[in-house]
């Protein structure tokens, strides 16, 4: 007992099998509160759409005895206040304290804050529901101090503070937005009815309306009276509002608190950046690439210890295959585009983790982090639960009735024919639906921006429908306990065992603010130990409908001391402490902070954007590859140019060729002496403008000393498989930059290509070519044709693929190639990479190319490779390989034991190939395709899967008969990470680890250069896929990943603030030229950066 009060325990746990959290029983804690819902004719989900959204829980020391008390809101049932008596014992003092609120429906969130700045914590309760206005006035209970028995007493002073108005509120947040020393109020409200019609006209009109009951409001505190400043502050207040949470923090580090608002349904989230002059601007669409669709709770916290707060929002995507299959219909690109058109932006149904790049941009990596799929989730809470120095994650989840299920949508109507009694019938059906319970999640932070699901090991074993949650050190033993509000079940009180189980240290911090902001809301604390740092911001109102402890908590791992600590209060005053002892509570007073806040570090970026030296040919192409083959994995069409350089006119200055795309011809830009570029008209290029240039190469084809231009034609779009526009072109150069197509220089090569690489394959002194085939338009993933072209020296090429190795003809969907002498015999060998292909090495004997992959790789590395670079990185005489892949920030995961697979065949014999992507979810392989997508692809399936349930568990062998699987073709991928392979002394390639940022997004370009001139090769990786299938979501987390190399195959990520790269969009080509890096983006845009 004494040990618990002493706070720390250095003994490691005797039994390490004990879970981290122990669920205490209500009999022990006396916390008997349960958010019990009573469904009836007037109280049900049809009457009020948020009927199952749950209640909240607030934690705070209400009576000043050093113990954190608990307040629970019940939607329909009575709220409860529990006084913490120590030893995890609690006493119901609701009635005595006078803080029950109004009985009956409908209570939502609860906030604790010192609203009137008298040093005592007050309580604010939110109301909503389809009830009359009088029942929806939120309540502010001001703490009057303790009575003789030590029970805090409260008085309803809502009207005194000017807060007696009705609203449909989710939660209230108290923070000092104008930094005048008192707490203002942000009220997150929601529309009680679902507005399903979201077309342009309607959205436009509704967006111009104000709605004080449904819309979000900001109220400024003026001497304990609140004034509405919503409109002037730039806060959007309309009926189109489904606010479920706000994350308040100084997101951009300028000293002013910003706000992230989660909006449910298609209404977009908001990123309100405080301009410091009393108003906010919504910059979500500028800074963030995509957000959660049904954003529920959120949490803003620094999860990677880089000192910048990151943003995490919850949604409804299930982890398991079965639930996913019951939830999804068909990817509806038109509905998605409608959302974009009305300004609702890119939204996808999964949790999103937005990593703050510090330069007004965020990289969303929830999938990479492993926290994207937690089913219908409510409350995310980042905190260091195991005290190891990294913030872990708790997620509460649950859906009281499973009506999101597609079978419900489609088949419940069978029972609802007579419209006259429909309402009652529907209610009957809803109430008969099983109430399914889920287990909440606990994730341990691995310290590298990824998390491991430790739910079971850390003590989550009870299924529940959990909503609001909060953390606090309830027993003052140095670790954070968890309290969870459950529907129709007693609340969970989890006692954290870390203090008993491990020997990690901690530091907790109590803040005493000046003026009316007594809890120091908005204060920022950074601690430093060795080269480690952690960052916390004081904002107890977080998560979902709840308030966490106002005592800040740092876990310290094995550090026995904190080297230094800096606190910067909301006022800007700052204080630094040194050599802080651990395993105790530190009290910091704002009056002791006398220094000015440190100036924001000025970072001089290495690269700056400059105007592109050439104009692009912009195009507004709206091609959607998924309209042609709905089951392609990723889109292939690209609405931008390829870039290539060469000295076309022999003046010693490199010129640029930008490739043809979207009906715009390829363009030749001649560099002038002053460094500018002027385009030169080339009629031959104009004639071929309807081809799509996939790759281009300047080389001397006919041996006359002048660089000719080979252009490989590619693309997908609407090309027919035998389209003449897929034929490659060779343009001979007269030396002055006049190019003319020679019509019989090349054999027939009707194939959609990806790359062309030159080498003297047969050693006869003339450059030959490998041309890679990418795809057969309309017939993905059938292998297209690739080519070995042998040059007769006069610019005439013969197809000798079969002679060199017939397997090369349809080797696969090649994306890149390289000619490099791999075995040191001075003959160029061929290295290939492609989609669903292993990185393959063909050794060249001069007359034959032989697959020698196993000589170089210890296993097959088959991936969705996009690009390849082979060079001697570590200068040991053996070539090394870097290959760009889809990366690890995807729904699809692959490994040796659990590969991704592509089964394809014209299963239904109707003339088109049916590609079936399968990958592992929870250790079993399932087809990715949803039931509706399957039926849309093969109408014969309609009879096999008459409902969603029959399809939900189907594996590929349950979809197709054994007969149908005969002769099926299969492709495999076991490696989806962008990879670096360094060759050892024997020339064997071993995988080296790249920084995690290389996996943020698909990599399509690898540019190697030595930006810091230290003699060691550095890399710039770019890519992204904007036009992704809806259920995968757009890949946009890469803004230009700069990696500094050490010359031995180790790379260090240079963050975006330092590198200066801020490239938004898809990159497919990067051209270094004259100290400038030129980027070709989608829609034909060009960007340039210079050091």
């Amino acid at each position: 007992m004494l040990m618990l009060f002493a706070g720390c325990n250095h003994e490691p746990s005797a039994n390490s099998q004990q879970p981290l959290f122990k669920l205490l029983q209500p009999e022990q804690t006396h916390v008997e509160f349960a958010n019990t819902l009573t469904e009836g004719l007037n109280t049900n989900v049809l009457m009020y759409e948020y009927f199952y959204n749950g209640g909240g829980v607030a934690v705070g020391d209400l009576n000043g005895d050093g113990l954190q008390d608990l307040y629970f809101t019940g939607n329909m049932t009575d709220n409860k206040l529990y006084l913490n008596q120590g030893n995890m014992q609690f006493k119901d003092i609701t009635a005595d304290a006078g803080v029950a609120g109004r009985p009956g429906p409908w209570k939502t969130g609860v906030t604790m804050a010192d609203v009137n700045g008298d040093g005592k914590l007050d309580i604010y309760i939110c109301y909503s529901g389809k009830v009359r206005a009088g029942k929806r006035v939120n309540q502010l209970f001001i703490n009057q101090g303790n009575n003789a028995a030590g029970v805090p007493m409260f008085k309803d002073q809502t009207a005194d503070f000017g807060l007696d108005f009705p609203s449909f509120s989710t939660q209230a947040y108290f923070f000092d937005y104008d930094r005048d020393g008192d707490l203002d109020l942000l009220l997150i409200n929601h529309n009680p009815g679902r507005i399903s019609i979201m077309d342009d006209a309607f959205v436009k009109e509704m967006s111009a309306k104000r709605d004080n009951e449904s819309g979000i409001r900001l109220l400024r505190n003026d001497n304990n009276h609140f004034t509405d400043v919503t409109v002037g502050a730039g806060i959007i207040n309309t009926p189109l509002s489904y606010g479920l949470a706000a994350g308040i923090a100084d997101i951009n580090g300028d000293g002013w608190p910003d706000i992230y608002v989660s909006n449910d349904y298609s209404i977009p989230d908001r990123l309100y950046i405080n301009n410091g002059k009393g108003s906010f601007a919504d910059e979500l669409q500028k800074q963030i690439g995509h957000s959660s669709f049904y954003s529920m709770g959120n949490d803003v916290a620094d999860i990677n210890n880089d000192g910048k707060p990151d943003i995490y929002t919850l949604d409804m995507l299930p982890e398991d295959n079965k639930r996913q299959k019951l939830l999804f219909g068909i990817d509806n690109y038109e509905a998605f585009d409608l959302n974009l058109r009305v300004g609702f932006y890119y939204q996808y149904m999964r949790n999103m983790l937005q990593i703050n790049n510090g330069n007004n941009s965020f990289s969303e990596i929830g999938q990479l982090a492993g926290i994207s799929n937690t089913d219908w989730s409510w409350s995310p809470l980042f905190a260091d639960y195991d005290n190891d120095g990294w913030k872990d994650l708790f997620v509460s989840n649950g859906y009281t009735r499973d009506y999101t299920n597609m079978d419900f949508l489609k088949f419940m109507g069978d029972n609802l024919k007579d419209r006259r009694v429909m309402r009652q019938d529907l209610l009957d059906i809803v109430s008969q639906m099983p109430s399914s319970q889920m287990k909440s999640y606990l994730f341990k932070n691995n310290g590298n921006t990824t998390f491991t699901n430790t739910s079971e090991q850390w003590g989550i074993t009870m299924p529940s429908n959990s909503n609001g949650a909060a953390y606090a050190d309830l027993d003052n033993d140095g670790d954070l306990d968890l309290v969870v509000n459950n529907i129709n079940q007693p609340a969970f009180v989890y006692e954290n065992q870390a203090a008993k189980q491990n020997d990690n240290h901690y530091l907790s911090i109590k803040l005493n603010g000046n003026g009316a902001n007594t809890q120091g809301v908005g204060a920022k604390v950074s601690i430093y130990s060795g080269n480690k740092t952690q960052y916390l911001e004081q904002m107890p109102n977080r998560g979902y409908q709840s308030t966490v402890s106002a005592v800040l908590h740092f876990g310290l791992g094995k550090d026995k001391q904190v080297d230094s600590l800096r606190i910067t209060w909301q006022s800007g005053k700052s204080q630094v402490l040194q050599k802080i002892k651990v395993d105790k509570q530190l009290v910091l007073n704002e009056k002791d902070a006398t220094a000015a806040s440190p100036a924001q570090k000025q970072i001089n970026p290495i690269f700056k954007e400059v105007p592109a030296p050439i104009a692009g040919s912009e195009s507004d192409n709206t091609t959607n590859d998924f309209k042609r083959q709905p089951l392609m994995v990723n889109s292939i069409s690209f609405s931008g140019s390829i870039l290539t350089k060469g000295d076309a006119n022999g003046d010693g200055l490199e010129d640029i060729y930008t490739g043809a795309h979207d009906g715009k011809a390829g363009v030749l830009y001649l560099q002038q002496k002053d460094g500018k570029f002027i385009s030169k008209a080339v009629p031959a290029f104009e004639a071929d403008k309807n081809s799509t240039d996939a790759a281009a190469l300047f080389f001397d084809a006919n041996g006359d000393g002048k660089p000719d231009l080979y252009v490989a034609s590619g693309g997908y779009a609407d090309y027919k498989p035998d389209d003449v526009l897929l034929q490659d072109r060779l343009y001979l150069n007269d030396g002055k930059g006049n190019f003319n197509k020679t019509n019989n220089a090349l054999p027939k090569m009707i194939s959609s290509k990806s790359c062309v690489k030159a080498a003297d394959i047969n050693g006869d002194g003339f450059p030959d070519l490998f041309v890679g085939g990418r795809v057969i338009p309309g017939q993905y993933p059938e292998a297209p044709e690739s080519y070995i072209l042998i040059n007769d020296g006069k610019g005439h090429f013969t197809n000798e693929t079969a002679k060199y190795n017939p397997a090369l003809k349809n080797i696969g969907m090649v994306t890149d190639a390289a000619w490099v002498d791999m075995n040191g015999d001075k003959k160029p060998d061929l290295v290939l990479a492609g989609e669903w292909m292993p990185i393959t090495v063909f050794e060249n004997s001069g007359t034959k190319l032989t697959d020698a992959t196993t000589k170089y790789f210890d296993k097959k590395y088959a991936g969705w490779w996009n690009c390849l670079q082979v060079s001697d990185i570590n200068h040991d005489g053996h070539p090394d390989v870097i290959a760009g892949n889809i990366g690890l920030n995807t729904q699809c995961k692959a490994s040796d034991a659990e590969p991704a697979e592509m089964f394809y065949k014209d299963f239904d014999d109707n003339g088109s190939v049916d590609p079936m992507l399968c990958f592992y979810i929870q250790h079993k392989s399932y087809p990715f395709v949803s039931r509706d997508e399957l039926l849309d692809q093969m109408s014969v399936m309609r009879g096999r899967f008459p409902d969603y349930k029959s399809y939900a568990d189907a594996t590929i062998d349950k979809i197709f008969t054994a007969e149908e699987m005969k002769d099926v073709k299969k492709l495999t991928a076991n490696e989806l990470a962008t990879a670096c392979f360094i060759s050892n002394a024997q020339g064997k390639l071993k995988q080296a680890v790249l920084p995690l940022q290389a996996q943020y997004s698909p990599v399509f370009t690898i540019t190697s250069f030595d930006y810091d001139h230290d003699g060691k090769e550095d890399l710039l990786l770019c890519g992204n896929i904007n036009k992704a299938r809806i259920r995968f979501g757009k890949y946009d987390a890469n803004y230009g990943v700069l990696l500094k190399g050490d010359g031995r195959g180790n790379y260090q990520y240079i963050n975006q603030q330092q590198s200066g790269f801020s490239i938004r969009g898809d990159v497919r080509s990067v051209l270094p030229l004259n100290n400038v890096l030129l980027f070709a983006l989608d829609k034909g845009k060009l960007k340039a950066y210079k050091q």
Partner: protein
Amino acid sequence: MKKLLMLIPACGLFAMISCSPKKQPELTNQDVSKVIGHMTSVMIHDVTNPPLAARFFAYTCLAGYEVVAENDKQIHSMRGVLNQYPDIKHPKQNTGYNYQLSAVLAMFETSARLLPSGTLMLGYESSFIDSCKNIGFNSEVIDSSKSYAKTISKQILAYAKADGYRKINNYPRYKLKQTPGSWDLTPPAYMLPVEPYFNTIRPMTLDSAAQFVPDAPIPFSTDKNSAFYKYLQMSYAKSGNALKQEEKDIANFWDCNPFAVQNDGHMLIGLKKISPGAHWMGITAIACKQAKTGFSKTVQINTAVAIGLLDGFICCWEDKYRTNRIRPETAIRRYIDPHWKPLLQTPPFPEYISGHSVVSTTAAVILTHYLGDKFKYTDDVEVNYGIPPRHFSSFTQAAKEAAISRFWGGIHFMDAIDNGIVQGNKVGNLVVAKMSGQRKL
């Protein structure tokens, strides 16, 4: 000589003579209607879209029709009548069957394989066979009839499979035209458009989907003096608050939307009703019962109506996706009042021409041909949906009411309705001509 003459004609007659001497039970027109009724409920469950429902009705009825045509001289074969109708191979030795029983079983067998939840039809078939035993069909006759039915059904299914529907998956998916006046997804569910390639399947009587191309729609315009804008105003004014109660009732009566989505927060539910085609098959059942038509005639009438529905949908859908016209709901909300909602939920496909107008008129023409043009009846098909029955003085009157109801429902402009009726008449007359043995119109 006489004896020989008697032995040579229809093998059906011969077969009947060789049946057991006990008198065979007879099936009635209601046994035919019941199969159709079961199909309708399974299709409601499956949410089969209106054109596809017609396709299922047509091929199912054809299977029953083929059996009847092979056994009843009064009913002529479809060979040479319907496009590419196959040369049906008759079973080698088939005796001891009852052709009426076979016809009904052929319909069960065919629909069981056409409908996604077709196994439900097999359940109904089982019950039907039990009831046949109860009225005196013996097991041998039943088995023999079923075997015959299966042989025919298989060939009709092959005929169906060759109509091109299964190739539709190969075509690029529908893309919005994105021009002013072109169709856009409609609320509340913004569903993808239904059957954009229905015009590529083989029609039964039409020479092509474009045989009866209607007049062009009134051109789109937002000019307040234009004819189109006046149309917008008409729909806006009428199908809102200016509808009389009876007009509302009529609109609901002919709603026939297989899947109206209702939104309650995260809970979505699809409210189901029968499709327009199913409604008219239901009317056919009512009419045959009232007119006490014989078994063969009933099969003939049902088949003719189903063929009319299919071909009606084929040419109507050709027009819808050729013109891609915007729906009243989209245009009115965009150009007049963003809050306007039609009385009925707009179905997910382009506007011009009105499907209900086409197929209702087609069905009415066909039913009039067989049962007369002053045929009074009471339509209680919608009673299960809480909608009371309505009385009609003729099929034509019903069709006219169905057509105008689309305007009142706020989901069609008048030219789509008027030209739908014109096209419906043409399709109906063509079907009648073909069924009557006239090769040319």
